[in-house]
Subunit: 338 residues, 2 copies
Amino acid sequence: MPTNLQILLDNRPTTEATLGNFKLVTCETPALQDDQVLVRHHFLSLDPYMRGRMNDTKSYTAPQALGQVMGGGTVGEVVESRSPLFVPGDKVVGMGGWQTFSVVDATAPGALRTVDTTHVPLSYYLGAVGMPGVTAWYGLRNIIEALPGQTVVVSAATGAVGSAFAALAKTRSCRVVGIAGGPAKCQYATRELGFDACIDYKLHADAASLSGALKEACPDGVDGYFENVGGMVLDAVMLRMNDFGRIALCGMIAGYDGNPMPMNYPALILRSRLRIQGFIVTEHLDVWPKALQELGELVASGKLRPRESVAQGLAAAPEAFLGLLKGKNFGKQLVKLI
Amino acid sequence: MPTNLQILLDNRPTTEATLGNFKLVTCETPALQDDQVLVRHHFLSLDPYMRGRMNDTKSYTAPQALGQVMGGGTVGEVVESRSPLFVPGDKVVGMGGWQTFSVVDATAPGALRTVDTTHVPLSYYLGAVGMPGVTAWYGLRNIIEALPGQTVVVSAATGAVGSAFAALAKTRSCRVVGIAGGPAKCQYATRELGFDACIDYKLHADAASLSGALKEACPDGVDGYFENVGGMVLDAVMLRMNDFGRIALCGMIAGYDGNPMPMNYPALILRSRLRIQGFIVTEHLDVWPKALQELGELVASGKLRPRESVAQGLAAAPEAFLGLLKGKNFGKQLVKLI
């Protein structure tokens, strides 16, 4: 059996996550039992939610166990199978974790899914045509309920969720405005991702200033907001929300690493009669087939051309992950493992 | 024509509202034109929303104009009519404002409504069977969507909205827990209003302590919360919300008088997948007939026996209003004008 590289959670961060929280180890992959499949991972997905799991606190998923392989989404290829459901060569997406191989029980529902790479590159199943894409789809359609002509805003605009959000919003004839960090990301958002405008939050020292920029970019106000960030950005957008606006809340990356970030103007929820709703896309599996079909068509037709930040080799995963938490990535953050 | 006493907004508060913001004046009621009605007010309603209108800021209603009669709900009796729709002696509810008489255009939709005082005292049409009652009804039914067996919480529990909320929640077989200020209000909530438990927020110095008391009172967590207060109370309840909990946000009295009060744990919206929604009951006129019917039946059957704080005479209105903002009232705050 091949040698497997793994990254374990060695200890929990007290404030900011650091490289010292992780540990790289080597082990042998075990021999397969009946109904098991050995998958060689091509790509590992790095996602903000992983930071929350590093803490030992109540959340919507159990904390990452200490001394165990870090969890995470993977795409790869079946290299050995003792299951009738998979044959070597199958391209598959699953939750293989931060390691180069995984042994998967093929009978566990949803553990492994075969994907077609004819029109969609394998890595996209971790981004635009995977969990981040479906997240954008669910928030836009089921919470924001965007209508043609309305203005919708998304933070972390050039990330995996933001890119998909823009393409989905444009096909619904919305005005879509992004918020991102730095001129390169903002240019990329408007030139490549279809955003009508993109605001560089790093140019603004406080919510009032950022809110002023939003007023220019959204002359008719904001009808829907997809929140990935929290903190000052949330305050600024709330100040510009139209009456009866909707906010889909799916990430608060600004607060993951330290103290909770307050929402400074909750009275706006009343004044503007807003609806704010948190969600986790893995709790809405019923929508995935429909969402993945639309996202796959957008990719195949060239309307969604997401960018990827690719770190090379498993050992590079911790540093790439810490960079993601600080917004250093540009597009979907992946680790290439082959 | 009779002499009319009026209270005008003389100047706007800079921080706390004070008696000096108001001015009492006397004038003659004008002679009626065709389709006009002269109403003698029996009771004026004092409500927290009036504080918001005293500021000259964007809100869901236009600011109260300076030098004009303070707006407000009234019940009274038609004393003269040049409209075929009303005759002297009719008991009516309307928005007559802080004055002893009003001249009303009877053709304006919704300006004046005749009410039946056979089973419901006239003053209740400003409280339990009026706007506050419908507010509780809408929040419980259309936002919290309470189901039998669920636990619902309301702040300002002994006020007009809270009293109605408790009666409505009990008829839906919910566990209903109140939050109020002081032992007298809490005793009244459990002994008279049907609350299963009531927590005195004044015994708690911070959200963590109040949240601990809520944990005892709500052993199965909180499924729905009706928010009238904001600030520390909102933080404390959010810490106890169950997954997929709903928060109806209809008042933030804690922040009306000064600086905005932050929501300190917005990440809980994501972690617990909460839905928070602000609303103004006057924007949902379609539900009023159904809500008023249920509320009237609860009063007639003795299941809703709201308490009233009654100030005597129009000149007492400003002081009663300032007391309301500080929670000095006990039950629905009214001013008796006859």
